[in-house]
Amino acid sequence: MYSNKNKSIHQIIVNMKSTLTRSKVKTVNQLIKPYPGRWVALSQDDTYVVSVASSPKAVLSQARKKGETSPHLVKSPDGSTSAIVF
């Protein structure tokens, strides 16, 4: 018999595991933060940085040389072009 108490303990453990797993995965913000003002090529699943360069052309070229044919290109914000719109 699986009691309600056991169920809730089980759920707590599942939630803790899930939280620990999530915390290991860096967000896009965290990945690009060390490179203000630079172009960053991320893997297609946004889990790691493939290349960093000063132009989109250079960063794409470097990423493709490393085998990532369709990377996600992100311009890391800096003090001059910090926001997307304003």
């Binding site: 297609q44 290109l73 997307i84």
Partner: protein
């Protein structure tokens, strides 16, 4: 009737001028320009109900293989002031909940947007895909209602 609800993306804005560092939220979708048989790459675009049409950085259009200055040009007035946009009929792919959605539109390409590296998904083309596009600033989500 099918709805898709998508959370806004968090963007870390470093301090600039007198403004402190902060986090903003924006409705953003991963986008690719599909041109000829060129291998696509992805970049971010803001879903923008105020944009008449889709606009992308000229540098990313060139990178996709488009000869930007060969397009029809038009003066526009936007947030960044007056500028000349070059228009091309392009195939755009946006990723919604891991699913690719493709549409064709006359998109503008802007050299002023090169510095920011993000596009705008405007009403002509992107919004035409849906019956309704709704933004919820309180929950920081936007909702797409399919036809």
């Amino acid at each position: 009737m099918s709805y898709t609800t998508i959370p806004y993306q968090k963007i870390q804005i470093p301090a600039r001028g007198d403004l402190p560092s902060k986090i903003v939220h924006a409705p953003i979708l991963k986008t690719a320009l599909l041109y000829k048989d060129n291998e696509p790459f992805y970049f971010d675009s803001v879903v923008d109900s105020g944009a008449d049409f889709c606009v992308f950085p000229a540098s990313l259009g060139e990178l996709a293989g488009i000869d930007i200055t060969e397009g029809r040009n038009a003066f526009t007035f936007g947030v960044g002031g007056k500028e000349t946009l070059y228009f091309h009929k392009v195939k755009v792919q946006v990723t919604i909940k891991d699913e690719p959605w493709v549409f064709e539109c006359q998109a503008g390409f802007s050299t002023k947007m090169n510095a920011r590296g993000v596009g705008f998904l405007g009403r002509d083309g992107f919004f035409d895909l849906f019956q309704e596009v709704a933004f919820n600033q309180k929950t920081k989500m936007f909702r797409l209602k399919e036809f």
